[in-house]
Symmetry: C2
Subunit: 237 residues, 2 copies
Protein backbone atom coordinates (compact mmCIF):
# COMPACT_ATOMS: atom_id res chain seq x y z
CA UNK A 1 0.00 0.00 0.00
CA UNK A 2 1.14 3.50 -0.83
CA UNK A 3 1.82 5.49 2.31
CA UNK A 4 -1.27 7.17 3.67
CA UNK A 5 -1.35 10.72 4.85
CA UNK A 6 -2.21 11.51 8.47
CA UNK A 7 -3.55 14.92 9.49
CA UNK A 8 -3.23 15.36 13.24
CA UNK A 9 -4.61 18.35 15.16
CA UNK A 10 -2.31 19.73 17.84
CA UNK A 11 -4.44 20.37 20.89
CA UNK A 12 -3.71 22.14 24.13
CA UNK A 13 -1.95 25.16 22.63
CA UNK A 14 -2.25 28.14 24.97
CA UNK A 15 -3.55 31.53 23.83
CA UNK A 16 -0.69 33.20 21.99
CA UNK A 17 0.75 36.58 22.94
CA UNK A 18 3.43 38.78 21.37
CA UNK A 19 6.91 37.21 21.56
CA UNK A 20 5.62 33.73 22.34
CA UNK A 21 7.77 31.11 20.60
CA UNK A 22 5.36 29.06 18.52
CA UNK A 23 7.94 26.38 17.69
CA UNK A 24 8.47 25.62 21.35
CA UNK A 25 4.76 25.58 22.20
CA UNK A 26 3.96 23.27 19.28
CA UNK A 27 6.82 20.95 20.19
CA UNK A 28 5.54 20.68 23.77
CA UNK A 29 1.86 20.33 22.85
CA UNK A 30 2.53 17.68 20.24
CA UNK A 31 4.64 15.71 22.69
CA UNK A 32 2.03 16.09 25.45
CA UNK A 33 -0.71 14.59 23.30
CA UNK A 34 1.46 11.64 22.32
CA UNK A 35 2.28 12.67 18.77
CA UNK A 36 5.78 14.15 18.95
CA UNK A 37 7.00 15.88 15.80
CA UNK A 38 8.97 13.72 13.38
CA UNK A 39 11.34 14.44 10.52
CA UNK A 40 9.47 15.29 7.32
CA UNK A 41 6.28 16.28 9.13
CA UNK A 42 4.66 19.39 7.75
CA UNK A 43 3.32 21.76 10.39
CA UNK A 44 0.39 23.89 9.35
CA UNK A 45 0.09 26.96 11.57
CA UNK A 46 -2.80 29.39 11.22
CA UNK A 47 -1.97 32.98 10.42
CA UNK A 48 -3.83 34.20 13.47
CA UNK A 49 -1.37 32.85 16.03
CA UNK A 50 1.61 33.80 13.88
CA UNK A 51 0.35 37.38 13.69
CA UNK A 52 -0.23 37.43 17.44
CA UNK A 53 3.23 36.06 18.23
CA UNK A 54 4.75 38.64 15.90
CA UNK A 55 2.76 41.46 17.49
CA UNK A 56 0.85 42.23 14.29
CA UNK A 57 -2.06 43.60 16.28
CA UNK A 58 -3.46 47.09 16.05
CA UNK A 59 -6.09 48.89 18.08
CA UNK A 60 -9.38 49.10 16.21
CA UNK A 61 -12.90 49.85 17.32
CA UNK A 62 -14.84 47.25 15.28
CA UNK A 63 -17.86 49.57 15.07
CA UNK A 64 -15.77 52.40 13.55
CA UNK A 65 -16.28 51.60 9.88
CA UNK A 66 -14.16 54.51 8.65
CA UNK A 67 -11.19 53.34 10.72
CA UNK A 68 -11.73 49.80 9.48
CA UNK A 69 -11.73 50.94 5.86
CA UNK A 70 -8.62 53.03 6.41
CA UNK A 71 -6.84 50.06 7.94
CA UNK A 72 -7.78 47.78 5.05
CA UNK A 73 -6.68 50.42 2.56
CA UNK A 74 -3.33 50.76 4.32
CA UNK A 75 -2.79 46.99 4.02
CA UNK A 76 -3.76 46.93 0.32
CA UNK A 77 -1.73 47.73 -2.75
CA UNK A 78 -4.74 47.58 -5.05
CA UNK A 79 -8.48 47.31 -4.51
CA UNK A 80 -10.21 44.92 -6.92
CA UNK A 81 -13.83 45.23 -5.76
CA UNK A 82 -15.89 46.92 -3.08
CA UNK A 83 -19.39 45.91 -2.09
CA UNK A 84 -20.78 47.44 1.07
CA UNK A 85 -18.28 46.78 3.84
CA UNK A 86 -16.55 44.05 1.84
CA UNK A 87 -13.33 44.96 0.09
CA UNK A 88 -11.49 42.50 -2.13
CA UNK A 89 -7.95 43.72 -2.47
CA UNK A 90 -4.40 42.73 -3.19
CA UNK A 91 -1.94 42.78 -0.30
CA UNK A 92 1.68 43.79 -0.59
CA UNK A 93 2.50 40.06 -0.68
CA UNK A 94 0.42 39.74 -3.86
CA UNK A 95 -2.43 37.80 -2.23
CA UNK A 96 -5.96 38.67 -3.26
CA UNK A 97 -8.41 38.32 -0.38
CA UNK A 98 -11.17 39.99 1.58
CA UNK A 99 -10.23 43.04 3.65
CA UNK A 100 -6.51 42.58 2.90
CA UNK A 101 -6.44 39.79 5.46
CA UNK A 102 -7.31 42.12 8.36
CA UNK A 103 -9.09 39.95 10.88
CA UNK A 104 -11.30 40.72 13.85
CA UNK A 105 -12.12 37.19 15.02
CA UNK A 106 -10.17 35.36 17.70
CA UNK A 107 -8.40 38.52 18.85
CA UNK A 108 -9.29 40.62 21.87
CA UNK A 109 -12.06 43.17 21.46
CA UNK A 110 -10.71 46.43 20.16
CA UNK A 111 -7.89 44.78 18.24
CA UNK A 112 -7.41 43.60 14.69
CA UNK A 113 -4.79 41.14 13.47
CA UNK A 114 -2.85 41.98 10.33
CA UNK A 115 -1.10 39.45 8.10
CA UNK A 116 2.54 38.76 8.93
CA UNK A 117 4.88 41.12 7.07
CA UNK A 118 6.80 38.24 5.50
CA UNK A 119 4.93 34.98 6.00
CA UNK A 120 7.68 32.88 4.37
CA UNK A 121 10.07 34.21 6.97
CA UNK A 122 7.50 33.45 9.70
CA UNK A 123 7.34 29.87 8.43
CA UNK A 124 11.12 29.60 8.35
CA UNK A 125 11.39 30.93 11.89
CA UNK A 126 9.03 28.20 13.13
CA UNK A 127 10.89 25.56 11.13
CA UNK A 128 14.24 26.69 12.55
CA UNK A 129 12.71 26.77 16.03
CA UNK A 130 11.40 23.23 15.75
CA UNK A 131 14.86 22.08 14.69
CA UNK A 132 16.29 23.78 17.79
CA UNK A 133 13.60 22.65 20.25
CA UNK A 134 12.65 19.20 18.96
CA UNK A 135 15.71 18.24 16.91
CA UNK A 136 13.63 17.36 13.86
CA UNK A 137 13.47 18.74 10.35
CA UNK A 138 9.92 19.72 9.47
CA UNK A 139 8.30 21.80 6.77
CA UNK A 140 6.01 24.66 7.79
CA UNK A 141 2.97 26.17 6.09
CA UNK A 142 1.37 29.33 7.48
CA UNK A 143 -2.30 29.15 6.50
CA UNK A 144 -5.15 31.59 6.20
CA UNK A 145 -8.80 31.31 5.24
CA UNK A 146 -9.63 32.93 1.90
CA UNK A 147 -12.68 33.20 -0.32
CA UNK A 148 -12.52 32.42 -4.02
CA UNK A 149 -14.00 33.78 -7.20
CA UNK A 150 -16.86 31.69 -8.62
CA UNK A 151 -17.05 29.15 -5.80
CA UNK A 152 -19.02 29.51 -2.61
CA UNK A 153 -17.38 28.83 0.73
CA UNK A 154 -13.94 29.51 2.12
CA UNK A 155 -10.90 27.26 2.03
CA UNK A 156 -7.59 27.46 3.82
CA UNK A 157 -4.60 28.33 1.66
CA UNK A 158 -0.88 28.81 2.23
CA UNK A 159 0.40 32.34 2.76
CA UNK A 160 3.85 31.32 4.00
CA UNK A 161 5.96 28.26 3.24
CA UNK A 162 9.31 26.90 4.37
CA UNK A 163 10.81 23.51 3.56
CA UNK A 164 8.11 22.50 1.08
CA UNK A 165 7.44 23.20 -2.56
CA UNK A 166 4.41 25.46 -2.79
CA UNK A 167 3.72 24.43 -6.39
CA UNK A 168 4.85 21.09 -7.80
CA UNK A 169 5.49 21.06 -11.51
CA UNK A 170 4.56 17.73 -13.06
CA UNK A 171 4.91 18.94 -16.64
CA UNK A 172 6.91 16.50 -18.67
CA UNK A 173 5.97 13.53 -16.52
CA UNK A 174 3.64 11.01 -18.06
CA UNK A 175 0.08 10.09 -17.35
CA UNK A 176 -1.06 6.53 -16.71
CA UNK A 177 -1.32 5.93 -20.46
CA UNK A 178 2.26 7.03 -21.12
CA UNK A 179 1.50 10.37 -22.75
CA UNK A 180 2.98 13.60 -21.60
CA UNK A 181 0.79 15.47 -19.14
CA UNK A 182 -0.48 18.87 -20.14
CA UNK A 183 -1.33 21.22 -17.30
CA UNK A 184 -0.09 19.87 -14.05
CA UNK A 185 1.27 22.52 -11.77
CA UNK A 186 -0.31 21.48 -8.51
CA UNK A 187 -0.55 23.95 -5.61
CA UNK A 188 0.38 21.38 -2.99
CA UNK A 189 0.93 23.94 -0.22
CA UNK A 190 -2.64 25.18 -0.63
CA UNK A 191 -3.89 21.59 -0.60
CA UNK A 192 -1.91 20.92 2.58
CA UNK A 193 -3.48 23.99 4.22
CA UNK A 194 -6.94 22.79 3.20
CA UNK A 195 -6.30 19.28 4.52
CA UNK A 196 -5.21 20.75 7.86
CA UNK A 197 -8.31 22.93 8.10
CA UNK A 198 -10.45 19.79 8.13
CA UNK A 199 -9.15 18.91 11.60
CA UNK A 200 -8.87 22.43 12.95
CA UNK A 201 -12.37 23.81 12.65
CA UNK A 202 -12.63 27.55 13.09
CA UNK A 203 -14.65 27.24 16.26
CA UNK A 204 -12.53 24.54 17.86
CA UNK A 205 -9.56 26.73 18.62
CA UNK A 206 -6.99 24.32 17.20
CA UNK A 207 -4.42 26.56 15.49
CA UNK A 208 -1.88 23.92 14.41
CA UNK A 209 -2.01 20.57 12.64
CA UNK A 210 0.62 18.06 11.64
CA UNK A 211 0.43 16.68 8.10
CA UNK A 212 2.46 13.49 8.07
CA UNK A 213 3.35 11.41 5.03
CA UNK A 214 3.71 14.00 2.26
CA UNK A 215 5.84 13.02 -0.71
CA UNK A 216 9.42 13.72 0.39
CA UNK A 217 10.23 14.73 -3.20
CA UNK A 218 8.36 17.95 -2.41
CA UNK A 219 10.88 18.94 0.28
CA UNK A 220 12.75 22.07 -0.79
CA UNK A 221 13.09 25.62 0.43
CA UNK A 222 9.79 26.73 -1.12
CA UNK A 223 7.96 30.04 -0.96
CA UNK A 224 4.37 31.19 -0.99
CA UNK A 225 5.44 33.58 -3.77
CA UNK A 226 5.10 30.54 -6.06
CA UNK A 227 1.36 30.72 -5.40
CA UNK A 228 0.99 34.34 -6.51
CA UNK A 229 -0.20 34.55 -10.08
CA UNK A 230 1.38 37.62 -11.57
CA UNK A 231 -1.20 40.24 -12.61
CA UNK A 232 0.06 40.05 -16.19
CA UNK A 233 -0.73 36.32 -16.35
CA UNK A 234 -4.00 36.70 -14.50
CA UNK A 235 -7.12 36.92 -16.63
CA UNK A 236 -9.17 38.09 -13.65
CA UNK A 237 -7.33 41.14 -12.37
Amino acid sequence: MRTALAVIPVEGMPQIHPDDVIAELVTLSARAQGTPLLDDDCLVVTQKIVSKAEGRLVALDPTDMAARRALVDSESTRVLRRRGELIISETHHGFVCANAGVDLSNVDDGQAALLPVEPDRSAKRIRDGVRAHAGVEVAVVVSDTFGRAWRHGLTDVAIGVSGLAAVVDLRGEHDALGRELQVTEVAVADEVASAAELVMGKAAGVPVAIVRGLDTAWRREGSARELVRSPSEDLFR
Copy 2:
Protein backbone atom coordinates in the same frame (compact mmCIF):
# COMPACT_ATOMS: atom_id res chain seq x y z
CA MET B 1 -6.26 13.62 21.28
CA ARG B 2 -8.77 14.78 18.73
CA THR B 3 -9.26 12.18 16.04
CA ALA B 4 -6.76 12.46 13.25
CA LEU B 5 -7.70 12.29 9.63
CA ALA B 6 -6.25 9.55 7.42
CA VAL B 7 -6.05 9.94 3.66
CA ILE B 8 -5.49 6.57 2.03
CA PRO B 9 -4.85 6.07 -1.68
CA VAL B 10 -6.69 3.14 -3.24
CA GLU B 11 -4.22 1.33 -5.46
CA GLY B 12 -4.66 -1.42 -7.99
CA MET B 13 -7.72 0.01 -9.70
CA PRO B 14 -7.96 -1.27 -13.28
CA GLN B 15 -8.34 1.05 -16.28
CA ILE B 16 -12.01 2.05 -16.36
CA HIS B 17 -14.28 1.46 -19.34
CA PRO B 18 -17.90 2.40 -20.04
CA ASP B 19 -20.36 0.57 -17.78
CA ASP B 20 -17.71 -0.47 -15.26
CA VAL B 21 -19.13 -0.35 -11.74
CA ILE B 22 -16.78 1.92 -9.81
CA ALA B 23 -18.32 1.08 -6.43
CA GLU B 24 -17.53 -2.60 -6.89
CA LEU B 25 -13.98 -2.00 -8.15
CA VAL B 26 -13.19 0.37 -5.27
CA THR B 27 -14.63 -2.05 -2.73
CA LEU B 28 -12.44 -4.87 -4.08
CA SER B 29 -9.27 -2.77 -4.43
CA ALA B 30 -9.59 -1.30 -0.95
CA ARG B 31 -10.09 -4.76 0.51
CA ALA B 32 -7.16 -6.17 -1.50
CA GLN B 33 -4.74 -3.58 -0.12
CA GLY B 34 -5.84 -4.22 3.47
CA THR B 35 -7.92 -1.07 3.99
CA PRO B 36 -11.53 -2.21 3.54
CA LEU B 37 -14.10 0.58 3.41
CA LEU B 38 -15.69 1.52 6.73
CA ASP B 39 -18.85 3.38 7.73
CA ASP B 40 -18.33 7.18 7.57
CA ASP B 41 -15.39 6.94 5.20
CA CYS B 42 -15.47 9.53 2.46
CA LEU B 43 -14.44 8.22 -0.95
CA VAL B 44 -12.91 10.76 -3.29
CA VAL B 45 -13.19 9.60 -6.89
CA THR B 46 -11.60 11.57 -9.74
CA GLN B 47 -13.90 12.86 -12.45
CA LYS B 48 -11.86 11.09 -15.10
CA ILE B 49 -12.88 7.57 -14.13
CA VAL B 50 -16.45 8.63 -13.43
CA SER B 51 -16.70 10.10 -16.93
CA LYS B 52 -15.20 6.96 -18.43
CA ALA B 53 -17.55 4.64 -16.56
CA GLU B 54 -20.49 6.80 -17.65
CA GLY B 55 -19.35 6.76 -21.26
CA ARG B 56 -18.80 10.53 -21.35
CA LEU B 57 -16.18 10.15 -24.07
CA VAL B 58 -16.28 11.73 -27.50
CA ALA B 59 -14.06 11.31 -30.53
CA LEU B 60 -11.72 14.25 -30.95
CA ASP B 61 -8.55 14.74 -32.98
CA PRO B 62 -6.41 16.65 -30.44
CA THR B 63 -4.64 18.52 -33.27
CA ASP B 64 -7.95 19.78 -34.70
CA MET B 65 -8.18 23.07 -32.85
CA ALA B 66 -11.46 24.10 -34.45
CA ALA B 67 -13.12 20.87 -33.33
CA ARG B 68 -11.66 21.32 -29.86
CA ARG B 69 -13.04 24.84 -29.59
CA ALA B 70 -16.44 23.71 -30.84
CA LEU B 71 -16.52 20.95 -28.23
CA VAL B 72 -15.60 23.35 -25.42
CA ASP B 73 -18.25 25.82 -26.63
CA SER B 74 -20.87 23.09 -26.65
CA GLU B 75 -20.04 22.25 -23.01
CA SER B 76 -20.16 25.91 -21.93
CA THR B 77 -23.09 28.12 -21.04
CA ARG B 78 -20.96 31.27 -20.90
CA VAL B 79 -17.39 32.10 -21.86
CA LEU B 80 -15.61 34.34 -19.33
CA ARG B 81 -12.20 34.70 -20.97
CA ARG B 82 -10.28 33.47 -24.01
CA ARG B 83 -6.51 33.63 -24.37
CA GLY B 84 -5.01 31.66 -27.21
CA GLU B 85 -6.24 28.08 -26.92
CA LEU B 86 -7.31 28.58 -23.32
CA ILE B 87 -10.98 29.18 -22.65
CA ILE B 88 -12.30 29.92 -19.16
CA SER B 89 -15.98 29.20 -19.19
CA GLU B 90 -18.97 28.31 -17.10
CA THR B 91 -20.39 24.82 -17.50
CA HIS B 92 -24.08 23.98 -17.35
CA HIS B 93 -23.44 22.86 -13.74
CA GLY B 94 -22.33 26.40 -12.90
CA PHE B 95 -18.64 25.53 -12.49
CA VAL B 96 -16.10 27.97 -13.86
CA CYS B 97 -13.02 26.21 -15.19
CA ALA B 98 -10.65 25.86 -18.11
CA ASN B 99 -12.06 24.40 -21.32
CA ALA B 100 -15.39 23.59 -19.66
CA GLY B 101 -13.75 20.59 -18.04
CA VAL B 102 -13.08 18.87 -21.37
CA ASP B 103 -10.01 16.76 -20.78
CA LEU B 104 -7.53 15.09 -23.11
CA SER B 105 -5.19 13.48 -20.57
CA ASN B 106 -5.51 9.91 -19.35
CA VAL B 107 -7.95 9.00 -22.11
CA ASP B 108 -7.15 7.12 -25.28
CA ASP B 109 -5.74 9.13 -28.17
CA GLY B 110 -8.48 10.57 -30.29
CA GLN B 111 -10.89 10.85 -27.38
CA ALA B 112 -11.84 13.56 -24.95
CA ALA B 113 -13.58 13.10 -21.61
CA LEU B 114 -16.46 15.40 -20.74
CA LEU B 115 -17.66 16.16 -17.23
CA PRO B 116 -20.43 13.90 -15.91
CA VAL B 117 -23.88 15.26 -16.75
CA GLU B 118 -24.94 15.26 -13.10
CA PRO B 119 -21.94 14.74 -10.85
CA ASP B 120 -24.04 14.69 -7.67
CA ARG B 121 -25.95 11.79 -9.14
CA SER B 122 -22.67 10.10 -10.09
CA ALA B 123 -21.54 10.44 -6.47
CA LYS B 124 -24.83 9.07 -5.19
CA ARG B 125 -24.61 6.10 -7.55
CA ILE B 126 -21.17 5.20 -6.17
CA ARG B 127 -22.38 5.68 -2.60
CA ASP B 128 -25.40 3.44 -3.21
CA GLY B 129 -23.15 0.89 -4.91
CA VAL B 130 -20.74 0.78 -1.98
CA ARG B 131 -23.68 0.18 0.35
CA ALA B 132 -24.74 -2.72 -1.88
CA HIS B 133 -21.28 -4.21 -2.45
CA ALA B 134 -19.50 -3.52 0.86
CA GLY B 135 -22.42 -3.06 3.25
CA VAL B 136 -21.07 0.23 4.55
CA GLU B 137 -22.37 3.79 4.49
CA VAL B 138 -19.81 6.13 2.95
CA ALA B 139 -19.86 9.65 1.61
CA VAL B 140 -18.61 10.27 -1.93
CA VAL B 141 -16.92 13.28 -3.51
CA VAL B 142 -16.29 13.38 -7.26
CA SER B 143 -13.22 15.56 -7.74
CA ASP B 144 -11.67 17.48 -10.59
CA THR B 145 -8.57 19.63 -10.97
CA PHE B 146 -9.34 23.33 -11.48
CA GLY B 147 -7.32 26.51 -11.75
CA ARG B 148 -8.15 29.60 -9.72
CA ALA B 149 -8.19 33.33 -10.24
CA TRP B 150 -5.25 35.16 -8.64
CA ARG B 151 -3.40 32.08 -7.39
CA HIS B 152 -0.93 30.03 -9.35
CA GLY B 153 -1.23 26.25 -9.47
CA LEU B 154 -4.18 23.89 -9.64
CA THR B 155 -6.07 22.32 -6.77
CA ASP B 156 -8.61 19.54 -6.69
CA VAL B 157 -12.17 20.57 -5.92
CA ALA B 158 -15.50 18.80 -5.55
CA ILE B 159 -17.80 18.69 -8.57
CA GLY B 160 -20.16 16.06 -7.15
CA VAL B 161 -21.11 15.23 -3.58
CA SER B 162 -23.28 12.67 -1.85
CA GLY B 163 -23.59 12.00 1.87
CA LEU B 164 -21.48 14.99 2.93
CA ALA B 165 -22.12 18.69 3.40
CA ALA B 166 -20.32 20.55 0.63
CA VAL B 167 -20.29 23.78 2.61
CA VAL B 168 -20.44 23.83 6.42
CA ASP B 169 -21.98 26.93 7.91
CA LEU B 170 -20.34 27.87 11.20
CA ARG B 171 -22.07 31.24 11.48
CA GLY B 172 -23.49 31.71 14.93
CA GLU B 173 -20.97 29.42 16.57
CA HIS B 174 -18.38 31.06 18.74
CA ASP B 175 -14.68 31.54 18.35
CA ALA B 176 -12.16 30.53 21.01
CA LEU B 177 -12.73 33.84 22.79
CA GLY B 178 -16.50 33.37 22.98
CA ARG B 179 -17.50 35.92 20.36
CA GLU B 180 -19.71 35.09 17.45
CA LEU B 181 -17.80 34.15 14.33
CA GLN B 182 -18.21 36.35 11.30
CA VAL B 183 -17.54 34.67 7.98
CA THR B 184 -17.26 30.99 8.39
CA GLU B 185 -18.84 29.07 5.56
CA VAL B 186 -16.18 26.47 4.92
CA ALA B 187 -16.10 24.55 1.64
CA VAL B 188 -15.27 21.24 3.28
CA ALA B 189 -15.97 19.15 0.16
CA ASP B 190 -13.36 21.15 -1.77
CA GLU B 191 -10.91 20.73 1.10
CA VAL B 192 -11.58 16.98 1.13
CA ALA B 193 -10.88 16.82 -2.62
CA SER B 194 -7.62 18.73 -2.11
CA ALA B 195 -6.55 16.47 0.73
CA ALA B 196 -7.16 13.42 -1.46
CA GLU B 197 -5.14 14.88 -4.33
CA LEU B 198 -2.07 14.88 -2.10
CA VAL B 199 -1.96 11.08 -2.16
CA MET B 200 -3.15 10.60 -5.72
CA GLY B 201 -0.63 12.50 -7.80
CA LYS B 202 -1.66 13.10 -11.36
CA ALA B 203 1.09 10.91 -12.73
CA ALA B 204 0.63 8.04 -10.31
CA GLY B 205 -2.61 6.78 -11.76
CA VAL B 206 -4.39 6.54 -8.42
CA PRO B 207 -7.95 7.65 -9.13
CA VAL B 208 -9.53 7.05 -5.71
CA ALA B 209 -8.67 7.88 -2.11
CA ILE B 210 -10.34 7.20 1.20
CA VAL B 211 -10.62 10.14 3.63
CA ARG B 212 -11.24 8.64 7.04
CA GLY B 213 -12.08 10.56 10.21
CA LEU B 214 -14.10 13.52 8.96
CA ASP B 215 -16.43 15.17 11.46
CA THR B 216 -19.58 13.03 11.38
CA ALA B 217 -21.65 16.19 11.96
CA TRP B 218 -20.95 16.94 8.28
CA ARG B 219 -22.84 13.85 7.14
CA ARG B 220 -25.94 14.85 5.20
CA GLU B 221 -27.22 14.48 1.67
CA GLY B 222 -25.12 17.37 0.34
CA SER B 223 -24.68 18.69 -3.17
CA ALA B 224 -21.92 20.32 -5.16
CA ARG B 225 -24.48 22.98 -6.04
CA GLU B 226 -23.69 24.45 -2.61
CA LEU B 227 -20.26 25.28 -4.01
CA VAL B 228 -21.55 27.26 -6.96
CA ARG B 229 -21.53 30.97 -6.22
CA SER B 230 -24.47 32.45 -8.04
CA PRO B 231 -23.41 34.96 -10.73
CA SER B 232 -25.45 37.66 -8.98
CA GLU B 233 -23.41 37.22 -5.79
CA ASP B 234 -20.12 36.85 -7.65
CA LEU B 235 -18.00 39.98 -7.92
CA PHE B 236 -15.82 38.35 -10.59
CA ARG B 237 -18.23 37.23 -13.27
